[in-house]
């Protein structure tokens, strides 16, 4: 790596550093340098860790260096978590050390006041002069579960994040390890990045990096601003035929409306323009914060649908009807079952062979219902008229049915190239959560509610159309 100039689109040093210096306080606390080092150690970070602080000799069994310049080996990445006024001087030392990538966690920059604006300008200048790149300031940092790089400055209470295909980025710490139970829900992540104040690395750089990141299958972002709209559109056009890009953007109000004599000028509010950019760039625009985490799962875990025909298996007709209404919004329509499927289903239980396969009545009267359940699911999925499936599951309070469901889904694995979205309901949270976790572990996404499940299938269908159109 020596002598290599980091290209703007090459963020490898931030995500695959062989060595990381942490400049901060190493007093035991729930936030700060100490937490960063401990989290890295717990997550089994694959590179070298160099804590830096003149007031400490040792932390968690690691030698602490008085200055970054005293570190014996090369340093790929530095994480700075000190008072904002001290940052420029430390940055100078980092550049002398030849460091090319810095995550600046410290706050008190452009987000705070005039002094902060000046400080941010100063550190940007130092970085630019030395061809160093910055993520932040005012960021909760990055994560790469594949190499245990979880330099989280806050206590999380868990050690590792599962490797997976979802990249999550945002102008907020709300996506970082301390803000979401990644471990508990067994969420599979490729990269996490909080841009913070976006003094240097921004959404465009990150999109270009993730475009070429083999671990990333789907990209989801929360943005407040877009720094270079035209570059963003150009990159999006290139990335979206390969990987779905989902964006939640704030500023949907007309606040941004500009005074203009023409209709065009006064109607060209930020939100309308961003919508246009999403359409031209093939971006899937999200509406709610929760969708940032929920919707990417369909792309990371399931195949794309080949058509828009939706099958629904449910314990209740009501959900089926509501789900059908929801499906229409995304261009999905209720599949008509083939006569063969109808005959087979009716043989399992009379009246089962309907457009919405309502298993509720049969569940109550058929002895050992779980013995016929796998056949119901397979019969529906085998039908050529069905391109995707919403499966609504009821779980009993004691969770006696869990093993039956798990066995069924295991039999479905890799058998049908059709996406399945699952929603689980029932009277007890522990049983619901247990089943959801185990199904997702098998690669079947479970959604927070059935509307979210339908939306996931809907955007997967819309993405499939776009992908087909581009190829």
């Amino acid at each position: 790596m020596k002598g290599k100039i980091l290209e703007k689109n090459d963020l490898a040093l931030f995500f695959e550093p062989k060595s990381l210096a942490v400049i901060g306080s190493f007093r035991e606390a729930s936030f700060g340098g100490y937490v960063v080092v401990r989290t890295l150690l717990n997550a089994g970070f694959a590179g070298k860790i160099y804590p830096v602080n003149p007031s400490y000799k040792e932390v968690l069994g690691l030698k602490v260096y008085p200055s970054v310049k005293d570190v014996p080996g090369e340093v790929d990445l530095v994480l700075i978590i000190i008072g904002c006024r001290a940052v420029p001087k430390v940055m100078e030392e980092c550049t002398e050390k030849g460091i090319k990538a810095a995550i600046i966690v410290s706050d008190g920059f452009a987000e705070r006041n005039e002094e902060g604006v000046a400080l941010q300008k100063k550190i940007s200048e130092i970085a630019r002069m030395n061809k160093m790149h910055i993520i932040g300031p005012n960021t909760a940092g990055v994560a790469n579960p594949a190499n245990g790089l979880i330099p989280c400055p806050y206590v999380t209470g868990y050690e590792r994040i599962k490797k997976g295909g979802i990249a999550i980025c945002g102008q907020t710490g709300m996506i970082n390890p301390q803000a979401f139970p990644y471990a508990d829900v067994n969420y599979g992540v490729s990269k996490i990045c909080d841009f913070g104040n976006k003094s240097d690395v921004d959404e465009c750089d990150m999109l270009e990096y993730l475009e070429n990141d083999p671990a990333t299958k789907v990209i989801t972002m929360y943005l407040e601003t877009i720094r270079d709209g035209r570059r963003f559109l150009e990159i999006s056009k290139r990335v979206t035929p390969e990987k779905p890009v989902l964006i939640l953007k704030s500023g949907r109000t007309e606040e941004g409306a500009r005074v203009s004599a023409s209709h065009t000028g006064s109607l060209a509010v930020d939100d309308q323009i961003f919508n246009a950019a999403c359409k031209q760039g093939g971006i899937i625009r999200l509406e709610k914060f929760r969708e940032i985490f929920e919707l990417p799962k369909i792309f990371a875990l399931q195949p794309l649908p080949k058509g828009n025909q939706l099958g629904i298996i449910s314990y209740t007709g009501g959900v089926g009807v509501l789900a059908t209404d929801e499906a229409e919004k995304y261009g999905l329509s209720n599949a008509k079952l083939s006569s063969e499927t109808i005959t087979k289903l009716d043989a399992i239980f009379p009246g089962l062979g309907k457009t919405i396969v309502d298993i509720g009545p049969g569940m109550v009267v058929v002895t050992d219902f779980m013995s016929v359940y796998p056949e119901i699911m397979k019969t529906v999925l085998r039908d050529d008229n069905i391109d995707c499936l919403l499966n609504v599951i009821w779980i009993d309070p004691s969770g006696d049915l869990i093993e039956g469901y798990i066995k069924t889904y295991k039999e479905l694995q890799k058998q049908f190239q059709k996406p399945i979205a699952t929603w689980i309901y029932g009277p007890r949270l522990p049983a619901i959560d247990d089943l959801a976790l185990r199904l997702e572990h098998l690669g079947f996404p479970v959604f927070a509610d059935f509307e979210m499940g339908i939306k996931a299938l809907g955007i997967a269908w819309q993405y499939a159309i776009r992908k087909k159109g581009e190829k």
Binding site: S260, S262, H263, A268, I273, A276, Q280
Partner: protein
């Protein structure tokens, strides 16, 4: 598309707003169908132009300083005879001079009265984050009250222009609502694409608005135009 000489003229005169006549001339050069319009410097020319174009005609004040032409009494419609032209010319001059005593007046623009069609609007402006953008919508209250418009970032593809038209809620009106003649969608698509191209090639145009454009069964025609340079 060559360079437009009008840009140099505006620079020399230190103004950024093209008159309606200048805007239409530019659009004509760019291959965009505009209603036949002539500039008349005086009453005599107004009469001659009317006769050449053929009655009925409309007269509109031609001045870079008059922004609200109708409100200031600078527009007279459906004129059928020489006598009416003469009277209309005098009334326009009197009304405008009263409202804008210091306005620079080029004369009047004489334009053919057009047959009724579905009014649409095509405009462009510049977004601070995304640069030049293009808008399409139905004219009148649809754009003013309901804000039923669609946008795209310039440059656009034919597919984008087609989607822009279909996206607005009032699209059924263009398809021929309640026995009304369906509008020629390909003609609108072509106009939107030409405007996108014009803006792409001429970054000095800050804002452009064709309002209204009349959509007919066989064609589309820009009736009024407004162009502002950077």
């Amino acid at each position: 598309m060559g360079k437009f000489l009008i840009f140099d003229k505006l620079k020399e005169e230190g103004r950024s707003l093209l008159t309606e006549f200048e805007s239409k001339e530019l659009l004509k050069q760019a291959g965009i169908p505009v209603v036949e319009t002539r500039l008349a410097k005086n009453q005599k020319e107004a009469v001659l132009s009317s006769q050449k174009i053929g009655f009925p005609v409309a007269l509109k004040i031609a001045s870079p300083d008059v922004i609200h032409k109708t409100d200031s009494g600078g527009v007279k419609l459906s004129l059928n005879k020489v006598g009416e032209i003469k009277a209309a010319y005098n009334e326009i001059m009197k009304a405008v001079r009263k409202q804008y005593p210091n306005a620079l007046i080029h004369g009047v623009s004489v334009q053919k009265m057009v047959r009724p069609g579905t009014e649409v609007i095509v405009g462009t402006s510049k977004d601070p984050q995304f640069g030049p953008v293009i808008m399409f919508g139905l004219g009148g209250i649809f754009v003013e009250l309901l804000k039923d418009v669609s946008f795209r970032i310039i440059p656009i593809l034919q597919k984008d222009a087609e989607e822009m038209i279909k996206e607005i809620k009032g699209y059924p009106l263009l398809q021929g609502y309640r026995g009304k003649e369906p509008s020629n969608i390909p003609a609108l698509v072509e106009m939107i694409l030409k405007i996108s191209h014009l803006i792409e090639e001429n970054p000095q145009i800050k804002e452009l608005e064709l309002n209204p454009v009349l959509a007919y069964g066989d064609s589309a025609l820009a009736v009024d135009a407004r162009i502002v340079l950077e």
